[in-house]
């Protein structure tokens, strides 16, 4: 176990397709988080930005761009890029600074204005980029990988497309209760079944959209929180940022092939499972201690995979857990009470931060109609392109 840090503030810009720049969303989220913390921007000693791809320069701009927009005040700055795990790595960087005594208060911001339709790699002929290669050589979009995983689950575990649709039914009902979600309409299983197939067996309503959005957190040392009179803050107890173990034998975005297991036996657990395990070990808790989980439901089928990878049930039992209602409101372990990506869509640098915002509100008892009663421990989980693991455990 490592030390804990306090979550003093959480804020978001509503998600949608707003057609404005990412800085606007990030600044709105940052101001909301600062107000929630009862702090001024000048009180912040460090800002960490989760990077946004802008004009082909991923990584160079996020932290300082938000600092400039909020008003230069000399804060320490960092910017991190880890694809979908960028937000969690921003939290990790902020936590490390606080625990190292480099800053008392750190503002973490992620925001994006996503393109319409499929994500695609940056331009130019770049055959040294695996992401570029999978599009150029195979036309393999993100949804085609989700389709491969879904079809594999059907063949190996007996999942059905009706099971997948029920994930959307659950998450859309929760998104309808979340004022920050982009989609606020309940969706029926019939509506999922009537939507167009994107990548067999997955349909449009099985797959998350791309969205604009922003999310921010104000993190501090526990001592700083106490000095501010916050005696029982939500605390971040673990941030998992692990890489896979060779050979990684589950075909991962954006790769064209897996590692070969010809010369080295694969680990008994998958990469996704190792992300959760690292978080549990660091926090000193297990899946049985969780009150709720926020997972990356890039597709409905992938949410079921996360149930197993988080240890909420055994391998192959994800659909059974869903059918039992265990992951629905009032169930043993509610999953994606925010509405998930099904209701938000992807705003890549913001989403992992938004997951922690939801945990914060839930653990404070401020989640309104979505509230999980007596929430004490929550986990977030996602996976960033190119081998970036990410999970955060927060407690109260």
């Amino acid at each position: 176990m490592t030390g804990e840090v306090a979550v003093l503030g959480a804020g978001m810009h509503p998600w949608g397709k707003w057609g404005r720049g990412f800085v606007e969303y990030g600044v709105a989220a940052a101001r909301a988080a600062l107000a929630d913390a009862g702090l001024e921007w000048r009180d912040v000693g460090s800002i960490v930005g989760a990077d946004t791809v802008r004009g082909g320069y991923p990584g160079y701009v996020a932290g300082a761009t938000f600092a400039r927009a909020l008003g230069w005040q000399g804060a320490r700055v960092a910017s991190v890029y880890a694809a979908c795990a960028s937000g969690a790595q921003a939290v990790a960087a902020a936590r490390a600074q606080i625990l190292a005594g480099l800053a008392d208060v750190v503002l973490v911001v992620g925001a994006d204005a996503a393109p319409k339709g499929f994500f695609r790699p940056a331009g130019g002929d770049r055959p040294d980029d695996p992401d570029w290669l999978r599009f150029r050589v195979l036309g393999a979009t993100n949804p085609t990988y989700f389709g491969l995983y879904a079809r594999r689950r059907m063949a190996v575990h007996g999942d059905t497309v009706e099971d997948f649709a029920q994930v959307k039914v659950k998450n859309s009902a929760l998104g309808a209760l979340n004022p920050y979600a982009r989609y606020r309409k309940r969706v029926s299983a019939d509506e999922v079944a009537a939507s167009a197939v994107v990548a067999d067996p997955l349909r449009l309503l099985d797959i998350c959209a791309t969205s604009d959005g922003g999310a921010a957190l104000v993190l501090s040392s526990l001592e700083f929180a106490r000095r501010r009179g916050v005696t029982e803050p939500v605390r971040i107890r673990a941030v998992s940022t692990v890489t896979p173990t060779y050979p990684n034998t589950v075909l991962d975005l954006p790769d064209i092939a897996t590692d070969s297991a010809a010369a080295a036996e694969p680990a008994t657990e998958t990469f996704r499972a190792s992300i959760a395990r690292a978080a549990y070990e660091e926090a000193g808790v297990g899946p049985e201690d969780l009150s709720l989980a926020e997972v990356y439901d890039l597709s409905t089928a992938l949410e079921l995979q996360w149930y197993e990878d988080l240890g909420l049930c055994g391998e192959g039992e994800g659909a059974k857990l869903l059918r039992e209602g265990a992951t629905a409101p009032g169930g043993r372990i509610p999953v994606n009470m925010s509405g998930g990506l099904a209701s938000f869509g992807e705003a890549v640098p913001a989403q992992a931060i938004a997951q922690v915002c939801e945990l914060t509100w839930q653990l404070r008892g401020e989640a309104g109609d979505r509230q999980v009663e007596h929430a004490r421990v929550g986990i977030t989980a996602n996976q960033g392109l190119f081998g970036h693991g990410s999970a955060v455990i927060a407690v109260r």
């Binding site: 499929f118 999978r134 195979l138 067999d200 997955l202 064209i256 010809a262 010369a263």
Partner: protein, 141 residues
């Protein structure tokens, strides 16, 4: 576009990978820089042909036109193609590829046998871009 990923014609067509001379790890797409096995001190990487036949790990299709850099003619209606991830037993690797034209998801099942064949990714006035494709065994169309 991707030099040295495959070679040969007809029944001699194979994917090409590399193998570490020290630990026998296999790499596809080919790794020519260094062995990526963390338990290996590193050896020379030699080109090897991969098994021509394997079993379907999973499959899907692409009902919407992929964005660039995939090359398609926007003037033509979109024709979905199938993608197959194939387990090669000897190499203990899964390799993704397009199915040969005409094979749909209805023709496939996890565990079914497929073989690698030469195919055309696209062609323009100057160039025919060849690639590898997976074809269910016993199908010769």
């Amino acid at each position: 576009m991707v030099a040295g990923w495959f070679a040969g014609d007809g029944d001699d067509f194979t994917l090409l990978g590399t193998r570490c001379s020290a630990c026998a790890s296999v790499f596809f797409p080919r790794e020519d820089g260094w062995c990526r096995n963390p338990g290996c001190a590193g050896g020379d990487l030699a080109e090897i042909p991969l098994s021509r036949r394997g079993r379907v790990w999973s499959y899907t299709d692409s009902r919407y036109r992929p964005p660039s850099p995939y090359v398609t003619d926007p003037e033509l209606p979109w024709e979905p193609y199938t993608l197959i991830a194939v387990e090669l037993a000897a190499e203990r690797i899964v390799v993704l590829g397009q199915a040969v034209p005409g094979v749909t998801v209805a023709d496939l099942a996890v565990g079914a046998e497929v073989e690698v064949v030469a195919g055309v990714l696209h062609e323009d006035g100057e160039t025919v871009w060849t690639t590898w494709q997976w074809r269910p065994t016993g199908v010769t169309a």
